[in-house]
């Protein structure tokens, strides 16, 4: 019972944050509602027993990634977005796509057999087990992602640095 109440409360907060992200016109407001979504998702992970994932979610997503977002919003001094008509392709492809997704959700809801219920903390993901799995079974993907992060760092630094001002034309001084 407690499990269901916690799930519903934090799920409602999660969905409310996501909808607020869509409604708000100022990027900072959207970013803060995204933090709400990520924090309440961390609680959902805890309910499923994924403790380490929940901690990493708060530290990496709600912490590092969102700080990066807020920094960029402030750096670019982004104001309220202008209301313009969306693109035609978004209307033609997007509306049916969203409708199909919504229908899929409805289908799952209707065909929910009620079985496969998980108890509170169904699968405890302790750091010890996660680490053992990460460094034995998934060692190669782990190393590949480390290379990916290195490349991403280099790319970000390269893209974000100001282009050098062209050198002053020589010879004019005579």
């Amino acid at each position: 019972m407690l499990h269901l109440v916690l799930f519903l409360v934090f799920g409602a907060i999660c969905v409310a944050g996501a909808v607020n992200l869509l409604i708000q016109r100022h990027p900072i407001s959207s970013a803060l509602s995204l933090v709400v979504v990520m924090a309440s998702l961390a609680v959902e992970y805890l309910l499923l027993g994924a403790e380490f994932v929940a901690a990493v979610q708060v530290i990496v997503y709600a912490g590092a990634v969102m700080v990066l977002f807020v920094f960029v919003i402030m750096l670019l001094n982004a104001g309220e977005e202008e209301l313009t008509k969306g693109s035609r392709v978004a209307m033609i492809v997007g509306v049916p796509g969203v409708l199909a997704g919504g229908l899929l959700i409805a289908w799952v809801l209707i065909h929910d057999s009620g079985g496969n219920a998980v108890p509170l903390g169904a699968l405890p993901g302790f750091p010890q087990k996660i680490g053992a799995l990460l460094f034995h079974e998934y060692l190669l993907p782990f190393e590949v992602t480390s290379v990916l992060v290195l490349i991403a760092i280099l790319g970000a630094v390269f893209l974000a640095t100001k282009p050098e001002t062209p050198p002053a034309p020589t010879g004019r001084k005579g």
Binding site: L21, A50, L76, V108, G115, A117, L148, A156, L159
Partner: protein
Amino acid sequence: MVPVSYYLILSAILFLCGVVGFLIKRNLITIFMSIELMLNGVNLSFVAFAAQWHHLSGQIFVFFVMVVAAAETAVGLAIIIAVYRTRETLNVDQVNLLKL
């Protein structure tokens, strides 16, 4: 006891919110945040399936998704800064150099 399908429905709703935001938002940074929302919805379904099948691999995949998302954020925001330097705008309607 909460059925796994509840978690899947929540993750689908989050993903749909991300898709809708991606389509209706006109600010580059907010569009980027919608993508993060989609990734978060997928992460929730990974964790839910891990709990259903009693296998920790689902939680490992969440870490990989997070790493890729972090790398994507770093590069994407750098690209947004570069776009802003050259075009002086964050509105996607005005970034239309490749449009026919």
